[in-house]
């Protein structure tokens, strides 16, 4: 099973990197762009075939290591 975990700063946490990218896009003429957020995507293979069990396991990985839930949220995709 292939897992993809999206980790982003929570709404309300200032994403200065996103802000810098947004300013650069504006500078290039894409003025319709707003609220840019820069995050991370982690992909990995996971042994097992039960998606529910996998999701529980990945949630624990996120809470333990992959995300800092003080500042970040996460979303799990399985394929």
């Amino acid at each position: 099973m292939r897992a993809r975990v999206h980790v982003f700063l929570k709404p309300g946490v200032l994403d200065v990197q996103g802000k810098a990218v947004e300013n650069a896009l504006h500078g290039l003429g894409w003025n319709g762009v707003s609220d840019v957020r820069v995050g991370k995507i982690l992909e990995f293979d996971l042994a097992g075939t039960d998606p529910a069990a996998a999701e529980t396991e990945i949630r624990r990985m996120c809470e333990t290591l992959l995300a800092n839930t003080v500042i970040e949220g996460y979303r799990i995709e399985l394929t």
């Binding site: 946490v13 200032l14 200065v16 290591l65 003080v70």
Partner: protein, 220 residues
């Protein structure tokens, strides 16, 4: 006094911390590798040094917070042993949950490296007693991700409990409430972004950092 400096792969202020503690206090300082599953017996102080532990991969301090030695540091902190985390060490303490909040990328996106003036908010902690009546100190910051963040409730609690020990006189990185250093409710775990280990002799521009380590020699 007996002290230990934890060395993570990528720590780069570990030697500075050892020398700073030795010269400031005369303490014997041991270096402890991150993979150790036991700390030297009879420690009075554990220092988590600055640097880029585990290459700052994933998040600053994230993997260091889960390294084997940190389980022992957590236990020692629970027993009341003094723990100070400096710069990356502060990030490690936040990631490990020993201190609240997190450190974000600096507001101006730049790595900031310069001496800064700090307001000593709490002169009555075991880490600040030697400052006496002084209410300001000069230490050097060197960080790219030093902007302290906590959600509104946590921030209110930190302020309400008097956990803020140092504030920036002129905030260099966008830290909320100008927070430069924090202590745990038990009063034995301190994290700060400025480096006392880069300001412990006047030849370094300031000797104020020595007072932080010397505070630990004073009776409670």
């Amino acid at each position: 006094m007996k002290a230990a400096v934890v060395v993570f792969p990528g720590s780069n202020c570990d030697r500075d911390c050892k020398v700073a503690v030795e010269r400031s206090t005369g303490a014997a300082v041991e270096m402890v590798w991150h993979a150790e599953t036991a700390l030297p017996a009879g420690l009075d102080l554990i220092v988590l040094p600055g640097g880029f532990s585990y290459g700052d991969y994933l998040r600053c301090g994230a993997m260091a917070a889960l390294s084997p030695v940190m389980a022992e540091v957590r236990k020692a902190a629970g027993r009341g042993v003094s723990v100070v985390g400096i710069c990356n060490g502060f990030q490690v303490l936040c990631e490990s949950g020993l201190l609240p909040g997190a450190l974000l990328r600096n507001a101006a996106l730049k790595y900031v490296c310069k001496p800064v003036e700090l307001e000593i908010v709490r002169g009555d902690t075991r880490f600040t007693r030697a400052f006496g009546a002084r209410r300001s100190a000069i230490m050097t910051v060197g960080n790219g991700e030093g902007a302290f963040f906590a959600d509104a409730d946590t921030l209110a609690r930190i302020e309400g409990e008097g956990q803020v020990v140092f504030r920036y006189a002129d905030n260099p990185n966008g830290s909320l409430n100008d927070i430069a250093g924090l202590i745990n409710p038990g009063g034995n775990v301190l994290g700060l972004m400025p480096h006392p280990d880069r300001a412990f002799e006047k030849e370094l521009g300031s000797a104020d950092g020595a007072l932080l380590f010397q505070s630990l020699l004073e009776p409670a």
